[in-house]
């Protein structure tokens, strides 16, 4: 500690340790912050049309139009870097008991953007089953979100209220 180099070295090392302490404190304190996210999805229209798909052959594709209304602003705390938000469709078929497909997603980077209102949301990604037909089963549509922190644990959530609706039979052409 007698010269500049020694003191600078010691301060640097100590500061590193304390920095990790601060980051750990931030990571530990964050989950205790309250939040009350809410979202409402209403499916307005579904069409099912068949197309050739990869090696599966003629498969049913669903085209979904829905209404999304969500308030995720309470998820934005000091440690929130961004939200990853997606519309999720879940259904069960004879051969596969769990099927989950993301239809649309969005990255939200500020509190203001967390108030989401999309009145005509179309599925961004193709909605096709691993079998060739949906067989008109029921599917539930909900909102799923991932909270990305600046430092710490990633958390996620999903709306409890979701819209359950049947796939319609195949139609011949896109309306």
């Amino acid at each position: 500690m007698y010269n500049l180099l020694q003191r600078a070295n010691s301060i640097f090392a100590f500061a590193m340790t304390v920095t990790f302490g601060v980051l750990a404190a931030i990571a530990i304190a964050t989950p205790f912050l309250p939040s009350s996210p809410s979202a409402q999805i209403t499916v307005k229209d579904i069409q099912v049309i068949s197309y050739e798909y990869m090696t599966q052959g003629e498969s049913e594709f669903a085209f979904v139009k829905l209404n999304l209304d969500a308030d995720l602003t309470s998820l934005f705390n000091w440690n929130t870097k961004q939200l990853f938000v997606s519309v999720l469709a879940e259904y069960e078929t004879n051969s596969h008991d769990i099927n989950q497909v993301i239809l649309w997603d969005s990255i939200i980077q500020s509190k203001e953007e967390a108030l989401i209102k999309v009145s005509e949301l179309h599925n961004e990604y193709n909605f096709v089953d691993i079998t060739t037909s949906f067989r008109q089963v029921n599917a539930s549509y909900s909102l799923y979100w991932d909270v990305m922190p600046y430092v710490g644990v990633l958390t996620s959530g999903q709306t409890k209220s979701n819209h359950v609706i049947k796939f319609p039979p195949r139609s011949n052409e896109y309306r």
């Binding site: 990853f84 596969h96 497909v101 980077q109 990604y125 991932d146 644990v153 990633l154």
Partner: protein
């Protein structure tokens, strides 16, 4: 500036010189052991990975550190997973966007990087349309920004690695402690 140190070096006997060199080798080898140990640990069922690409921006940038959890619970859509395509070494950190679970328990998973326009089928092996539970190394549970940057810099500029070890060695030799 270094008169004291040079005078010291000249005064050393053969024994002292040998001792300094051994000291230096000890430090270098233990640093190497930690480095290699960590690299090995990171390649296996390791809980810590460094983000290597920008395909998950703006969530993860190159150099961020990710903490993984063991995938005991089944994979869910929306999870960010670290997986390896069979036959390849490089782990990929992307999000699960489609999931079809057979009643037998076999999972068919499709992944995509948030920052990519298309899903990962272009990355999978030719003819492969899905990945399965066995391909997944872990699920991302925690996050620490920037800390992994040093691994990336060391990898991109290996001369830096040698330069650093060289500097450390020189410092050890000259230092009287």
């Amino acid at each position: 500036m270094f008169e004291d140190e040079i005078r010291f070096l000249r005064k050393m006997s053969k024994r002292q010189l040998a001792q300094q060199v051994l000291n230096f080798l000890m430090i270098v080898s233990s640093a190497l052991m930690v480095w290699k140990g960590l690299a090995l640990y990171t390649n296996s069922e390791s809980p810590i990975v460094v983000v290597l690409s920008g395909s998950m921006e703006p969530a993860f940038y190159r150099g961020d550190l990710l903490f993984l959890g063991m995938p005991d619970e089944p994979v869910r859509v929306g999870d960010i997973c670290v997986f390896k395509i069979s036959g390849r070494d490089v782990p990929i950190v992307h999000r699960v966007i489609k999931l079809h679970d057979e009643k037998t328990g076999k999972q068919y998973i499709l992944t995509k990087g948030d920052n990519n326009q298309v899903d990962d089928r272009g990355l999978y092996n030719p003819g492969q349309h899905w990945i399965h539970k066995e391909d997944i190394i872990g699920k991302v549970k925690g996050f620490l920004p920037y800390v992994g940057m040093i691994t990336i810099i060391m990898n991109d500029y290996p001369q830096l690695k040698y330069a650093l070890i060289g500097f450390l060695g020189l410092y050890m030799l000259i230092n009287r402690e």
